[in-house]
Amino acid sequence: MSAYAWMWVAIVAAGVLSWTTKDAGHSVPEAWLENPRVHRIAAFVTVALLSALVAVQTFASGRSLVFDARVAALVVAAVLLWRRAPFIVVVVAAAGVAAGLRALGWG
């Protein structure tokens, strides 16, 4: 098979594996979820994964940790959330702070 055809095989394989991973979560037997411990862990898992995602998206650049415009943007976002600002205001303000600081040549 040509390299081009192999690339297609890889793309379809990655797609099938991606869907299978996602579907596995939706296919966990109902009886497992009725176990209080599994139920509690499942509730904490989304908080844990999304918090870790925020941290990595704010501080990671490849495999190093950096302080750049994203950190300032997230501080502004946190203050706005604490002041109960609407979602869209928080998101637009964060983008504005990061874009502004970068236009000024920082981060």
Binding site: W6, V9, K22, F44, T46, V47, A48, V54, L81
Partner: protein, 230 residues
């Protein structure tokens, strides 16, 4: 004017879809630069449909890696999507057939976050958050991937527009309502610190996935019911 009549959940879904979709522009351009053609680039967005996994796939290929390594890296980075399906079970079940198949395909960071950011006592809002965000990101991500692949390297870096910070701020805003109790805040803090501590030493994907260990530790004992996020 339709925007003004959308309720809060749909507004969140729409803003998240547009901000996330905009990144499809970089993905499309990077994929073509890595040597994949237009059809392969669009197939990756349609079939994998998980940003981190797709960037990893074309990253491995662009760096001269093999197809098997690209599939393995992409799959590993997508493992967290499997956990989301478990967390969404109380919101989405019962489901079967095509509905379940589609729900699986659009189970990503964004759809999970918007669904669970809605009040626990309002299940229809949670379901609407999941479906509007999942389908909204799917449409925007695939359309803008095509645009990025066509435009190629002539486009700028989304970071110049602050879109990377916007994505992080959106996730912070979505997880915020779930941090009402001390135990949830402790889980968020410990997960963040663990992920950052692992970033320099672990392969991509591991730092975020490792946060599941914090959740297991937090849920293993007997927290009071009000301390468990709904």
């Amino acid at each position: 004017m339709a925007l003004l009549t959308l309720d809060r959940t749909r507004q969140q879904a729409l803003s998240v879809s547009l901000a996330t979709g905009a990144y499809g522009l970089s993905f499309g351009a990077l994929s073509v630069a890595a040597g994949l053609d237009l059809w392969q680039t669009c197939a990756l967005s349609l079939l994998i449909f998980s940003g981190g996994s797709q960037f990893a796939f074309v990253g491995v290929i662009g760096a001269g890696g093999g197809a098997a390594a690209a599939v393995a890296t992409s799959t590993f980075l997508g493992l967290r999507n499997g956990f989301y399906g478990v967390g969404l079970a109380p919101v989405l079940r019962p489901m079967r057939g095509w509905r379940k198949a589609w729900a699986a395909q659009v189970t990503i960071d964004e759809s999970t976050a918007v669904a669970l950011a809605q009040p626990a006592e309002d299940p229809p809002a949670r379901r609407a958050g999941f479906w509007w965000t999942g389908v909204g990101v799917f449409v925007a991500w695939n359309a803008i991937t095509l645009l990025g692949a066509l435009l190629g390297s002539s486009i700028g870096d989304p970071a110049d527009w602050g879109l990377d910070a916007a994505a992080a701020a959106a996730f912070l805003a979505l997880v915020w309502p779930r941090l009402a109790h001390r135990r949830a805040r402790a889980v968020a803090a410990a997960s963040s610190l663990l992920a950052l501590a692992l970033t320099p030493v672990a392969p991509p994907g591991v730092p975020v996935l490792a946060a599941a260990l914090v959740a297991i530790a937090a849920g293993w004992g007997h927290p009071r019911p009000e301390e468990v996020p709904e």
